[in-house]
């Protein structure tokens, strides 16, 4: 598909199908269209509330673009099929919610270990367990980071609106391709089902990235090496005669299994971490409002960032020196920037729709003389401008 050089044909189809302009659509649809614009032509999924509209949109649109929609027997099969398709050169995606995300954890680790680009959208709902299926939440923040076993790095982005979801999905694909890694999109049930005005751009305005392919036989022989020093090996796709061996077991640079030599494991897993750590410029992204002179810094993410901004704006109107810091890439956490901002603030408030998760990340980067306080709400109802403003006033 796109990656195999039929780009002009794909651009023709995209232009023909999706006229630029403003559309009134759900966050879930925005995610799906973002994926289509980013070049996703393979989707494998399983129905689950509140993510199903992503699957439905992909099922409707992908065949038009010559792409594949597969409904697998479960979420485990879905992510497995994606990895398989990614190794044949497709940009791939699935969407799910908490219970399905829990089931995908093993193969998410497989994708990390085998450096398989894929995009996994978790439309967070109120949990644990089945919880409140139709209600939004931000309770999977740490699951996205730590859900699979063993030492692993992960990149996760989190959109703050429907429009943002369109662009963040594209960005997720670009990061996945650039760094040959799975990327989690931490979306939520509130934005998923919220309809807003969303601007669909012209296809030419969308910058998309393709994974590195081996330039020569030498590179192809080291599918897990580091020929360019950036930690990202070129990906010798299946079907090109490279005879690539891919395994989730600890492996050498040539892909062959070695599960007994400590140095091999150390080299592999440390490179996986280094690949993510040294390429922060590829994915690090955050938004700041009034942080220059903020005494009260609000740190928020995802769906809560928006009412947080509303609250900060109102606080400013009231003469309170409030500011807002919104990590858009939530894992790895933008710790350095957090540390700088933390030095300036007197109070840090962390509103989120859970019982306190991102606040633990914030805590690692701030000194003990800062008052750090969570603004937490669970039960599926988003935090409001008024609720956050009340907290700001309380510490002003």
């Amino acid at each position: 598909m796109i990656i195999r050089g039929d780009e002009p044909e794909q651009l023709r189809l995209l232009r023909k199908l999706y006229k630029p302009g403003n559309y009134f659509m759900q966050g879930n649809e925005a995610v799906a269209y973002g994926a289509l614009f980013a070049g996703c032509r393979f989707y494998a999924g399983y129905p689950i509330t509140p993510s199903s509209e992503i699957a439905e949109t992909m099922a409707r649109e992908l065949p038009k673009l010559g792409g594949y929609y597969l409904q697998m027997e479960d979420e485990i099969g879905s992510i497995a099929a994606m990895v398989g398709a990614s190794w044949t050169g497709f940009k791939v995606m699935t969407a799910t919610a908490g219970p399905g995300f829990s089931l995908m954890q093993e193969n998410l680790g497989y994708a990390v270990m085998t450096e398989t680009p894929l995009v996994l959208v978790d439309v967070q709902r109120s949990g644990p367990s089945t919880g409140q299926a139709t209600k939004g939440a931000q309770g999977d923040f740490f699951q996205a980071r730590w859900g699979t076993h063993g030492d692993h790095p992960i990149v996760a982005v989190s959109p703050i609106s429907g429009q943002d979801a369109f662009w963040e999905t594209i960005r997720a694909f670009n990061i996945a391709e650039k760094l040959r890694t799975p990327v989690v999109v931490l979306f939520d049930g509130v934005l998923a089902h919220t309809r807003e005005l969303i601007k669909i751009p012209d296809v030419d305005e969308v910058e998309i990235t393709y994974r590195k392919l081996p330039q020569n036989e030498e590179e192809a022989k080291l599918p897990f090496g580091d020929p360019h020093g950036d930690g990202v090996p070129p990906m010798p796709l299946f079907g090109h005669g490279y005879f690539t061996h891919v395994t989730g077991s600890t492996h050498k640079e040539n892909g062959l299994r070695d599960v007994y030599t400590p140095e091999v494991h150390d080299r592999l897993v440390r490179r996986l971490h280094r690949k993510i750590e040294q390429n922060r410029h590829v994915y690090e992204k955050y938004e700041e409002h009034f942080t220059d002179d903020a005494e009260i810094l609000v740190v928020s993410w995802g769906v809560t960032a928006r009412p947080a901004l509303g609250a900060v704006l109102k606080a400013r109107e009231e003469g309170i020196k409030a500011g807002l810091f919104v990590p858009k890439t939530v894992h790895p956490f933008p710790g350095e920037r957090m540390r700088e901002l933390g030095k300036k603030a007197r109070v840090i408030l962390v509103p989120e729709m859970n019982l306190g998760q991102m606040i633990l990340e914030v805590q690692r980067y701030v000194n003990d003389d800062v008052i750090l306080r969570g603004v937490n709400k669970i039960g599926g109802v988003p935090l409001t401008v008024e609720e956050i403003l009340r907290e700001i006033r309380g510490v002003a």
Binding site: L13, P63, A80, V83, F243, S249
Partner: protein, 284 residues
Amino acid sequence: MAKEIYSTYPMVKYLRKEALPTALCPGCGGGTVLNAFANAVDGLKLDPKDLVVVSGIGCSAWIASPYFLADTLHTTHGRAIAFATGVKVGLPDKKVVVISGDGDLASIGGNHLIHAARRNIDITVILVNNFIYGMTGGQVAPTTPFGAKTTTSPYRNIEHPLNISETVAAAGASYVARWTTAHVYQLIESIKKAIQVKGFSLVEVVSQCPVQFGRRNKMKEPAEMLRWFLKNSVPVSKAKNMSPEELEGKFVIGEFVNRQRPEFTEELNKLIDEVQEQFGLKEV
């Protein structure tokens, strides 16, 4: 010494020499399966560049991973067929073969097995059934014969084995056959057929694990196990006239089904064509 053997073995061209020798125990049936598969590929004059071999976790998953020189995807436990589904959809012109064990494909991966058979996706599955979890130390498998001893059924197995071939046939596969490692020529021919069949094909190979299974069931030597296979093998045609009681403990061998049914990737691509047609997206 080892090198010399490889240089005289005609199938060595299909193997990753740098990965040899294999990690399989002496007497393991896995070698027979690898040999049969290589011979089938050779017999069909298949270019290994047109092959993708996928496997899960366990000894049998190691038969081809990484030893067979093709694109090889060694996946998580039980999920090989689901991974292979993605590969096949992405590369519809290549032959996708899954080689893995009974525990991997029929226990933890049982759901993917029956669903792939239902979809009738054009994948060939070579399922090596040695009745046991070899790699983890000889635990009971869903294929372990009734009454056999394993480390987790130390007082003899009380569960009945899953009839894998029969279940996969019922789920809708195009081609299903069962052989044992004592039927090498039939096995090679069957694998050849399976690879050529359009649709989901399963070749179940009853195989010996003298170390983990045989040892605990009074068959320490591989030859004893092969004799056991031969003695208890019953051809499909004959089995049809036998009662379930008579069939207890027997291995029904032969072809169970060989039929034409709509194939998944073909239907999928046909659908895409129709949709593109319907929306006027085909280039004129």
